[in-house]
């Protein structure tokens, strides 16, 4: 790990003043669950690391039935999944946090970190750049080992999958992400927070280089039933192969409207409006859930080794719908 300057501001104003205008020059340290690995592997080489854990207002979680849930960016995944209100009102978030199968990451990793962690693409982590290209700019993914890569939104040059566990649920719940920079706070819809980079120098999120995530704002569900289902090979530490989060407004067994978002299948969390439309107005059954899964992956494009993920995404949607319909809200 290279030597770096370490700052530990106590206000968000101080924190953003320490950031500068180039990605990678400074990095923000929250739980450190991803940043430390990236630094040890020499993938990220910041000259300055800004610890934001001393900023009190970034902690804490509040709920009111009228305004919904406010989650400080430094709330840990474990705090999130243990929260009774979250479990009752927003089970899709608790289930997503439970899917992070390392107790260490759940205990130290934060919700802000979950959103801002870098892709798990093994070419990126092996030092071949965010877009995993050889020296001539050709993708290493397309003819290489792509079993964990994208099946949607994969027209290039990015083929990695978004690694966030919480993002699909946040988007399905209509959450906003509050950012803070030199000009003050701004809110972006969770669905607009993630972007597909076109160059190795860009990032996978809509933060500016001098902004930080301060909180997540989740509106009241209005009785919508929500659930997350992750397909993961192992019980122990493992990343999902595909995931889906759904939020269903229901009248009895009938779905009046649906939000369905896929995770781990595209460079950004992937809402599937066609599947949402398909499900709206239908009564939930195994067959309807399965067919909705089918509608969710109609645009999928298989790479040489990842065709199976189409099936996994389909199943994730099916099981998330059934789980949501079974559960109360």
């Amino acid at each position: 790990m290279r030597a770096f300057e370490y700052a530990s501001p106590t206000t968000k104003e101080q924190a953003v003043a320490l950031l500068n205008n180039q990605w990678g020059e400074t990095e923000v340290l929250a739980g450190g669950m991803d940043l430390l690995s990236l630094m040890k592997d020499d993938v990220t080489r910041p000259g300055r690391v800004i610890n934001i854990k001393e900023i009190k207002e970034l902690h804490g979680l509040q709920y009111s039935p009228s305004t919904g849930l406010r989650i400080g960016a430094l709330v840990t995944l474990q705090e999130l999944l243990e929260n009774e209100t979250v479990r009752k009102e927003y089970p899709s978030l608790a289930q997503a946090a439970e899917g992070v199968t390392s107790p260490q990451i759940r205990d130290l990793g934060t919700v802000g970190g979950d959103l801002c962690q870098r892709p798990r693409c093994w070419y990126f982590r092996g030092g071949f750049g965010l877009l995993a290209q050889d020296s001539s700019g050709k993708s290493l993914v397309l003819e290489g080992e792509n079993k964990y890569h994208a099946i949607l939104g994969n027209s290039g040059p990015a083929y990695f999958v978004n690694p966030s566990s919480l993002a699909p649920a946040l988007i399905a719940l209509g959450a906003k992400i509050r950012l803070f920079g030199p000009k003050g706070a701004r809110d972006v819809a969770a669905g607009q927070f993630f972007v597909t980079p076109k160059t190795n120098q860009e990032r996978e999120y809509a933060l500016k280089t001098n902004e930080i995530v301060t909180e997540l704002l989740v509106p009241p569900t209005g009785g919508a039933r929500n659930a997350t289902y992750e397909v993961r090979q192992k019980e122990a530490l493992d990343w999902p192969l595909a995931a889906a989060a759904v939020s269903l407004k229901m009248s009895g067994k009938n779905v009046t409207s649906a939000r369905i978002v896929l995770g781990h299948v595209a460079p950004v969390p992937w809402p599937v409006p066609d599947a949402e439309k398909f499900l709206a107005g239908k009564t939930v059954s195994e067959q309807v859930a399965q067919d909705t899964g089918g509608a969710a992956v109609t645009g999928a494009k298989r790479l040489s080794q990842n065709g199976y993920k189409v099936q996994l995404a389909r199943v994730a949607v099916k099981r998330a719908i059934l789980r949501a319909a079974e559960g109360g809200a």
């Binding site: 790990m1 290279r2 030597a3 592997d41 020499d42 199968t101 798990r120 093994w122 070419y123 982590r125 092996g126 071949f128 050889d134 290493l140 003819e143 290489g144 080992e145 079993k147 964990y148 397909v231 090979q233 192992k234 019980e235 122990a236 530490l237 493992d238 990343w239 192969l241 080794q305 990842n306 065709g307 199976y308 099936q311 996994l312 199943v315 099916k318």
Partner: protein
């Protein structure tokens, strides 16, 4: 003449009982110090500059910037310009600095240029291997052509098992420290006695000048016998710097360069009669273990099929070096053979258990033992009730299946010497330059010495892990338990004989008529004539008794042998919508001759089963042909099972007169041989089609089902 033979069953107070490992409390409390934990005074940290290319020639090396970096004490080129590198991650330069991160920074500052050469890191397509494919001579037994033409059923399949790494929890490495012209080595090794010789040879110093010490090792699995380049160069670097140097491999280096288990691919054809009698075998196999290719695994495994034809091709690749991996070549051979036999059974619509029992005579001298084990395993897993024809036809997407496999291993004792000392204060020590890989070697030595001397296990101080003690073999090939138990038994028996001579006059008895039991020395058959162990030892005056025991020592009979039989059965469920396999239950029925400690034997098997689940479902060294690099040299994508992934493990140890008569036989390797085959067979039984490759990942399960026509 001392009594060397093992006591008969009725007279054993410790041997064969369930005794907790002696170093357990030290390990679970974190007090046990591994090499990785050690710090020597003035110690420097060594880091390697590693080649990023899978195949290259070193063109130039510039160390000048690194030498000027803060904290840097020594920089040494270990592969000069002109050297050919055969795998990514191989060390070219090594640097030593006062702090680990300073050594890392210095290593990065070394400038090396390479002439990049063509590489091959994928071997699944033999047609792309070109002249890197090295076919071996065909092997034929009987008349396979005739046997296949007469066969009533012929079953064919293609199978493969991936290259995996050893993934030692404690990575490879050591501290090397000079005291004048004497070298202290603190390695993480499987060979405390053997490893010193490599330093002697490479450094040209007298054997008496090298001392090797190690208390605990965090896994070796066959990959930690050698001093290795990092050991020898670490010693040279320490000399250069005038300070001790510690080099432990980083996790990525551990997975890239510290050894792999060769892959095996095979097209297999089997012939049989309609009644299930196996008549013929044909295999065309290939595989790689790195630049050295790979030899043919012992095919067909275990089964002595009368008519055979085998062809094998080793493929030289740039994936990193092969090293012995627990039961070298057996897991591959077992998976290939037992999968083919299960596929034959499916083609015949027969129960594979029935096929195995029908052909039991093909299993050689231990056929009846295998039969007994198969029946025992079937009883434990409820085979008759649970087994079904291939393909679980019950409703729902969770399918259940059973599979079985069988295996063997040698496990003959290695050479070993033990020194037992009985002190006048009654204390007893046993000393050997052996090592405890976590298998319970310390505990076994203590049990044997205590049993022989009629003492409780706590009375024995076991000293191992230091080359200053009498030499003992490396722990590989399941040779340790036979070696150390034999040498310890003989040393303790001779020491006891000496103390009998000392105390016989006081008991008014012939020394040959004495026995030791219950911390007493007494006249055989007359417990009234006895004295306590303390009283007996106090008669030694100031002179301890020292006795040396050896293995082998033909004059003193034989206490160990080789050759074991084991069977395993697996019950799995498969989610046919996701292709995810869950282990429900694994049953291991294992023979290992005379058991010294039933508890550590069971632990050894639990560990093997867990390791087996890992390579059956998760592990693979994933190489990228474009870059020549391993893509998963980390613990996120080099997947291992966690506690929730291993299912219920059931171990049944075979015991009795047959086992006793064969003496002690090693157990380390055999139980890791079968899990891959048993689990693969259970998956086939569940979903109705063979998933031809290990590890059985979701993509492979779904692909196999899609080819078959799907279930979902």
């Amino acid at each position: 003449m001392a009594e060397y033979n093992w006591p008969e069953a009725s007279k054993r107070s410790l041997i064969g009982k369930r005794i907790s490992r002696l170093d357990g409390p030290e390990k679970v409390s974190g007090k046990a110090k591994y090499t990785y934990d050690l710090k020597r005074p003035g110690m420097l940290y060594g880091k390697m500059v590693r080649c990023p290319h899978a195949h290259a020639k070193v063109s130039s090396i510039d160390t000048s910037a690194a030498e000027k970096m803060p904290g840097v004490k020594a920089v040494k080129i270990i592969q000069d310009p002109g050297s050919e590198i055969q795998w990514a991650g191989d060390g070219v330069v090594v640097v030593a600095a006062t702090e680990e991160h300073l050594a890392e920074d210095a290593a990065r500052a070394v400038k090396v240029t390479y002439e990049v050469l063509p590489h091959l890191v994928r071997e699944e397509d033999l047609s792309k291997a070109g002249d890197r494919a090295k076919p071996a001579a065909e092997k034929v037994a009987g008349d396979p052509t005739k046997a296949f033409s007469e066969a009533e059923v012929v079953s064919e399949g293609t199978y493969s098992i991936a290259v995996i790494t050893h993934c030692c929890l404690e990575s490879h490495g050591q501290i090397t420290e000079w005291e004048g012209d004497k070298l202290n080595v603190f390695p993480s090794t499987q060979a405390v006695t053997g490893i010193g010789g490599e330093f002697v040879k490479a450094l040209g110093i007298p054997a008496t000048n090298v001392r090797v010490r190690m208390n605990h090792v965090g896994g070796g699995f066959g990959s930690k016998f050698n001093a290795d380049r990092w050991g020898i160069e670490g010693a040279r670097l320490a000399k250069l710097a005038g300070q001790p140097v510690k080099i432990m491999l980083e996790r990525d280096a551990e997975l890239m360069v510290a050894g792999g288990r060769p892959s095996s691919f095979a097209k297999i054809k089997m012939g049989a009669k309609k009644d299930g009698t196996i008549t013929a075998w044909e295999s065309n196999s290939w595989g790689t273990g790195g630049p050295g290719g790979a030899g043919m695994p012992p095919l067909p495994y275990v089964w002595q099929i009368p008519n055979q034809r085998m062809n094998h091709t080793g493929v030289a690749t740039n994936i990193g070096p092969a090293r012995a991996w627990r039961a070298p070549n057996h897991p591959q051979a077992c998976f290939l053979t037992m999968s083919a036999i299960e596929d034959l059974a499916a083609a015949l619509k027969m129960d594979p258990l029935e096929i195995c029992l029908k052909n039991i005579s093909l299993l050689g001298p231990r056929a009846s033992l295998y039969q007994e084990e198969l029946l025992k395993g079937a009883e434990i897993i409820e085979w008759k009730r649970k087994w079904h024809l291939r393909g679980d036809t019950t409703a729902g997407h969770i399918k259940r299946g059973l599979g079985l496999s069988m295996h063997t291993w040698g496990g003959a004792p290695h050479n070993s010497e033990c020194r037992v000392t009985i002190n006048p204060d009654g204390s007893v020590s046993a000393e050997l330059a052996s090592q405890d890989l976590g298998t319970g070697t310390r505990t076994v030595i203590a049990i044997v010495a205590a049993e022989t001397l009629g003492l409780p296990i706590e009375a024995i101080k076991v000293n191992i892990g230091d080359s200053a003690y009498p030499p003992s073999g490396g722990s590989g090939g399941s040779t340790t338990v036979g070696g150390v138990s034999s040498s310890t038994r003989r040393a303790a028996a001779d020491a006891l004989d000496e103390i009998f001579k000392v105390v016989a006059p006081a008991l008014n008895a012939d020394p040959a008529n004495l026995e030791a039991a219950g911390s007493k020395i007494q006249v055989k058959g007359d417990a009234s004539k006895s004295m306590t162990w303390q009283q007996a030892c106090s008669r030694l005056g100031v002179k301890p008794i020292r006795a040396n025991g050896k293995q082998p020592d033909p004059a003193k009979g034989s206490l160990a042998s080789s050759g074991v039989a084991g069977i395993q059965m697996a019950e799995v469920t498969v989610d046919t919508e996701t292709g995810i396999v869950k282990i429900e239950k694994l049953v291991s029925v294992q023979d290992m001759g005379l058991i010294i400690d039933a508890k550590t034997a069971e632990s050894q098997i639990y560990g093997a089963l867990i390791m087996g689940v890992c390579y059956a479902l998760y592990e693979e060294k994933i190489m990228d042909q474009a870059t020549g690099r391993m893509l998963n040299p980390n613990m996120e994508f080099y997947k291992l099972a966690g506690i929730g992934d291993i299912g219920t493990l059931v171990v049944h140890l075979m015991t009795g007169q047959e086992q006793d008569a064969r003496g002690v036989i090693g157990l380390g390797e055999p139980p890791v041989v079968s899990p891959g085959a048993a689990i693969s067979n259970a998956v086939a039984n569940a979903i109705g089609v063979r998933v031809p490759s290990l590890p059985i990942t979701p993509d492979r399960v779904l692909t196999a089902m899609e080819k078959k026509g799907g279930l979902t």
